[in-house]
């Protein structure tokens, strides 16, 4: 099953490469990865998604925790959580039928058109990964020129939070 793993790590030289290297070294796949400093600039929050059963997920969490730079490691998928991903997609939109259909689609999915040229529309859409997949499928026949996805961000629902 898909796992969303959240890591709080020291914002230091080499910290990210250690996390990424661990996955390669231990034979786990990373499906998505996103990382940025937090409100505390000395810390980075990293979210990655991978596939694995319970035993594998437990081992991944333990291995990540063993890295000297990591402060917290949480498998968000074990509890209620919210998942978001951002999609930017550039679609060929030369004829007016396509432009109308695309605008409808964007509205249905609650996205935004963020850039327009005579021949293209660029769409921004946020949601869980399944929603983004569905949108891509819906507009595929119009002629997708480029797809950029941010990778999954996750946060747990309710009172739980990850902080040092």
């Amino acid at each position: 099953m898909k796992r969303i793993i959240s890591i709080l790590l020291e914002n230091e030289f080499g910290a990210l490469s250690r996390v990424v290297g661990l996955f390669a070294q231990r034979g786990y796949n990373i499906d998505t990865l996103t990382v940025a400093p937090t409100d505390d600039g000395t810390l980075s929050r990293l979210t990655l998604t991978t596939q694995g059963d319970d035993k594998m997920a437990e081992q991944i969490v333990k291995q990540l925790h063993k890295l000297i730079d990591t402060l917290k490691v949480v498998d968000l998928t074990v509890g209620p959580h919210i998942e978001r991903e951002l999609l930017l997609v550039k679609v060929k939109a030369t004829d007016s039928d396509v432009r109308t259909e695309l605008k409808n689609c964007v509205e249905i999915f609650r996205g935004h058109i963020i850039d327009v040229t005579p021949s293209t529309y660029t769409v921004q859409l946020a949601g869980d990964s399944d929603k983004l997949d569905a949108f891509i499928e819906a507009v595929a026949h119009m002629g997708i020129m480029e797809v950029v996805r941010s990778g999954v961000l996750g946060i747990s629902r309710g009172d739980k939070f990850i902080r040092v």
């Binding site: 790590l9 030289f13 080499g14 250690r18 290297g21 035993k55 081992q59 333990k62 000297i68 402060l71």
Partner: protein, 578 residues
């Protein structure tokens, strides 16, 4: 406050963290550091002949003493040559700090002369690594590096320092941190009390228990606590290759090493056990054989400092994360407090069974190989003679191959830190430099490097370093004129096709070679000369003696696990199997 250059700060910080010896090899990017070494006398540098040996020597020193070993190398090839040594230490959880020079900061990334991304290259084989970017950070980084190396599950730490950071022109105040605090690194110590109670209950309920311990007992200096628990329970104890000496090898309760070349009684007892008390061991594939067939009846109690080792290969029924010492102490006190005692009737029956196994196929109770005589010297008899001549009190290092297994089987280690070998990585070339490290630490103890004509040639250049630093180790070369373990596998699985495992007539005259380096060489080809010549060898306290002993070329190591089998599925000789 005194102002010092980065190079001086580094050496001062090493002194203040307790380092007395550095093994290393100079080169361009490390020259400011070497100049700082020249200016002082607190920290002694020992020059090796290849950087791999510097790290192995620091490693041998650490294994013999329990202290953190230190190696210093230059950038590029110096750093990459150190890699095998670092990986060796990593696999066996040995605390080391390896300091590497790096090209100047403004050249990093330019493909500069002798530039290698050392932090990147070493990343998968270090506990942690640092790139120091300014002299002000050196002292704190060194303090952290040693703290990380020796605490928790120990391991090697790399500190990569660009040349400009150690340069003489920029001086900063020196201050060594009084303590190390890292919010992201707080190794656990005590095991969970509730889990320990559960473990004690399972132990006291056991009818066919085995205590299975590994290198963790040695690393954590927990031997006395293991002995106390084992004696209290009167349960059989088996050690992994890395754990030998953690429990006395001559003790009645010791049933030998387990695993691929472990004893019949240890492997068979494991297979039939109802409770396995694993302490500081990691269920390595060389121990378990086929995981699906591993110990089908056993409740597994697993004590380890490293949570990732627990339930990695074998799922633990009662996992306990903590140091061997703290957990064993608690186990003992819970046993003492308990109103329950071990089931003595069941345990007696269990011992009866184990003693039967011992008598039937044990390697100590009956000779498992044809006797030596005339020109035929069995490698096992060389180890037995070594044991006799050194009264079992030598520090024995080994390389990797058949000689390593014979040493592990036939030299009975009664104390920890006397058996020093590369168990996890299996590094040929480890033995001689490791012996140098041990000899430096214990100049009055006999240090024997049990090796083969294959392994010894991988770091033989260190015979020169032994001359320079007066390290009179004894080299026990089991010369069978072939890569013995490779040949054994080729015999067993490749129908005797000896692909690249023989040297034909190319082997050097080891006696002449030893003499060329200023040492003593002794060749032994007759069994009746073996003991006498070995006594001569060890009588020369101040000389390095290279004993080139020509042993049976066809011998195999037995017992040996059958691939894909359970622990009890063993070859007992070339013709017998369980």
């Amino acid at each position: 406050m005194e102002l010092l250059s980065g190079g001086d700060i580094l050496i001062r910080a090493l002194r203040d963290v307790g380092v007395k010896h550095i093994w290393g090899y100079p080169g361009g990017a490390a020259l400011h550091i070497y100049d700082a070494i020249y200016r002082q006398e607190d920290v002694v540098h020992l020059l090796v002949r290849h950087e791999q040996a510097a790290v192995h020597a620091a490693d041998g020193f650490s294994r013999a003493t329990g202290e953190v070993g230190t190696a210093l190398v230059t950038s590029g090839p110096g750093a990459t040559n150190a890699i095998t040594g670092i990986a060796t230490a990593y696999m066996d959880s040995i605390p080391l700090v390896v300091i590497s020079g790096q090209v100047p900061s403004n050249k990093i990334g330019q493909d500069a002369f002798q530039e290698t991304d050392m932090v990147g290259v070493s990343r998968p084989i270090v506990k942690h690594s640092f790139l120091v970017t300014k002299p002000e950070d050196i002292a704190a980084t060194i303090a952290k590096a040693y703290y990380i190396a020796r605490t928790g599950r120990p391991g090697p730490v790399v500190v990569d320092i660009p040349k400009d950071v150690t340069g003489p022109n920029y001086k900063v105040p020196y201050e060594f941190p009084s303590e190390v605090k890292m919010r992201s690194y707080q190794p656990s110590d005590k095991g969970h009390r509730g889990q320990i109670k559960r473990a004690v209950k399972a132990l006291l309920d056991a009818k066919r228990p085995v205590i299975y311990t590994g290198g963790g007992i040695v690393i954590d200096n927990a031997a006395e606590h293991l002995i106390a628990v084992a004696r209290k329970l009167n349960y059989p104890v088996t050690n992994t290759l890395m754990g030998l000496g953690g429990y006395p090898g001559t003790d009645r309760q010791f049933i030998g090493m387990l695993g691929m070349h472990g004893t019949f009684e240890a492997n068979t007892a494991m297979h039939h056990a109802d409770v396995i008390f694993a302490v500081g061991a990691r269920f390595d594939d060389r121990v378990t054989n086929e995981l699906e067939k591993f110990c089908p009846l056993a409740t597994i109690i697993h004590v380890d400092i490293d949570p990732t080792s627990v339930s990695k290969n074998i799922v633990a029924d009662i996992p306990i994360v903590g140091t061997c010492t703290s957990v064993l102490k608690e186990v003992l006190s819970f046993i003492e407090e308990s109103d329950k005692a071990p089931d003595s009737e069941a345990i007696n029956q269990w011992w009866q069974q184990i003693d039967e196994w011992r008598a039937k196929h044990g390697i100590y109770t009956a000779s498992r190989y044809e006797p030596s005589g005339g020109d035929l010297i069995k490698p096992q008899d060389v180890i037995k003679t070594l044991y006799k001549v050194t009264k079992g009190e030598a520090i024995v290092t080994s390389d990797v191959g058949q000689h390593q297994m014979f040493a592990a089987q036939y030299y009975l280690f009664d104390k920890p830190r006397r058996w020093i070998n590369s168990g996890g990585l299996g590094t040929m070339g480890f033995g001689l430099p490791a012996a140098m490290g041990a000899k430096l630490a214990f100049p009055d103890t006999d240090v024997a490097c049990v090796t083969g004509e294959g392994s010894i040639q991988m770091c033989i250049q260190e015979l020169s370093a032994c001359s320079q630093h007066n390290l009179p180790v004894k080299i026990i070369n089991l010369n069978n004129a072939a890569l013995g373990m490779v040949r054994q596998w080729q015999d067993m699985q490749y129908n005797g096709r000896y692909s690249q495992s023989v040297y034909e007539e190319s082997l050097p005259d080891f006696v002449a070679l030893a003499e060329a380096y200023g040492h003593v060489g002794i060749k032994v080809t007759k069994f009746d000369e073996l003991e006498e010549k070995m006594r001569e060898c060890f009588a020369m306290k101040d000389r390095l003696v290279f004993m080139d002993i020509h042993v049976d070329r066809s011998e195999h190591v037995y017992p040996m696990h059958m691939p894909g089998g359970s622990m009890r599925d063993l070859w007992l000789s070339k013709t017998e199997r369980t």
